[in-house]
């Protein structure tokens, strides 16, 4: 199996992600409406917004899980429309739902990802070992995942997304359902990934403190469009010296955070929490 190619070579580009009039319509309703923006390589980019704003739809299109109705996006230089296989090769994705298989051990989950990404047998074991070390999971790698804590499951899922050394990592509400200690630990790992490996990270979150603490740039999505995009510091300063990202959110969406929770989101979040 030594002839199996290593992961796709990363294209050198200062733009890790580029959206060009990206649109998705459910029936005729535009859930994502002509989105155009860029994410520079090495950035932690936060996509925030109320439910139904189009965050998940955007992330699903960028990860090639959902076809775009019109427009395009380039990930690491590859088009989601014309080069979906290459896009998949250079991204890692952690869905909000529990994506690690509880009936397998941590090692087996990673082995599955490594094989699906076509890592050669020698590189596969090294890569699995490295991500387990990085995420502090080496000691529990042979235990079934359904015996893991919520924080450990999340770290394993991120490990799975990292095993092929992607250029861009997509995290969909990575800390939902985690206790404060597990959340802080995950923040530390996300920062390390960004600083030490220079990885570009696109994350969605409902936690404005999280967006403030982690993200270099934040985009607020409302009704399928970006209403404001800047560094958290600049967004807050524009509102006043004591303003928070919560204030920015409420100002631009016209609703408080809790009022935006719809039935589907509550169901999905509670499912995730109960599974964690």
């Amino acid at each position: 199996m030594s002839n199996i190619p290593l992961p796709l070579e990363k294209k050198s580009s200062s733009k890790a992600v580029e959206l060009i009039n990206l649109t998705h319509c459910y029936n005729s309703y535009p859930a994502v409406d002509h989105l155009s923006f860029e994410i520079k390589s090495g950035t932690i980019f936060g996509l925030i917004g109320p439910n139904g704003a189009g965050k998940s739809t955007t992330i699903k299109m960028l990860t090639t899980l959902l076809p775009a109705t019109s427009g395009d996006a380039r990930i690491n230089g590859y088009s989601i429309n014309s080069n979906p296989a290459q896009v998949r090769q250079c991204i890692g994705y952690v869905p909000q739902l529990i994506s690690a298989d509880g009936e397998l051990t941590g090692y087996e989950n990673l082995l599955l990802s490594a094989k699906l990404y076509g890592l050669s047998s020698g590189y596969r074991e090294k890569s699995i070992h490295d991500v387990l070390e990085f995420m502090n999971l080496s000691d529990v790698k042979d235990k079934l995942v359904n015996s893991y804590s919520g924080g450990m499951i999340r770290r394993l899922e991120i490990s799975q997304a990292l095993v092929h050394d992607p250029a861009v990592l997509f995290l969909d509400e990575p800390t939902v359902g985690l206790d404060p200690a597990a959340r802080k630990m995950l923040w530390k790992h996300i920062r390390e990934l960004n600083k030490e490996k220079g990885m570009t990270i696109l994350m969605t979150t409902h936690d404005m403190n999280e967006a403030d603490a982690l993200c270099d740039v934040v985009a607020l999505l409302h009704l399928g469009k970006i209403v404001v995009m800047d560094t958290p510091h600049k967004l807050k300063t524009a509102l006043g010296p004591k303003a928070t990202l919560d204030d920015v959110f409420i100002l631009h969406t016209g609703s408080s955070l809790k009022e935006t929770e719809d039935y589907q989101h509550v169901k999905q979040t509670r499912t995730t929490i109960s599974n964690l």
Binding site: M1, T63, L66, R88, L97, E103, L104, G118, E157, N275
Partner: protein, 270 residues
Amino acid sequence: MLSKPERLSQIYNEFALTFVQISAIVEMDVRKLRHDPSELFTRMLQPAIWLLIFGQAMAKTKAIPTGSLSYLDFIAPGILAQSILFISIFFGIALIWERDMGILQKILVSPAPRSVLVIGRAIAAGIRGISQIFIIYFLSFLLDIHLRWDLLALIGVFLTVMLGGAIFSTFSLIIASIVKKRERFLGIGQILTMPLFFASNALYPIEMMPKWLQVISFMNPLTYQVDALRNFMITDQATSIGLFIDFMVGFFVFAILVVIATRTYPKILY
């Protein structure tokens, strides 16, 4: 422009990669069974009931003409095929469960082609079906059913079971990706299994059926599976259709189902 050796090397690499990806899907399913084999034991109950209760009762009535074969000899291959059908036809529910859990999303963002994921799951279903061979052979031995024990016959049984599991599990994946919800899937699964089972040669010879049912029976892949199994499992039992046709129909149906499932599989997400 690639030279011929380079092109051959590329083809070899792609083939090797496809093999690794398919085997990864199969391997994980086998590992799950190794961690928790309880499912295999619970699945043994149904064929045991059919053979020990239904089979013995019907054999006593002598109501079904099975030629030189005893009725138990006649239905043992049919019960094996039925077990495979019942296991595989509900295989798609795992897809819905994986979608709801988020596991499927992670698999679908990998660069593995969709066809690889479908074929991997089909082979995994076939392997799950193999456990049924052991229980049917064990019960058949107890009931003094005239089994063939030669290597060629045993290999034939394994291949037929694998193919049957692959066909019905892929069919199940297609249904799951269309209906999308667990409750709907269970309802449709139950509606499908009985007609597939009864409109086949599993319990009675095709010649006994009314003409219209015979036509349906020849369109039913289960009929060809039972025909091949009867030849491989029971001593001195020639196929009524022919092994070549049995396998050609099986592979043809499987190929068509893989093509359809490859298209419908990701649509379960939206």
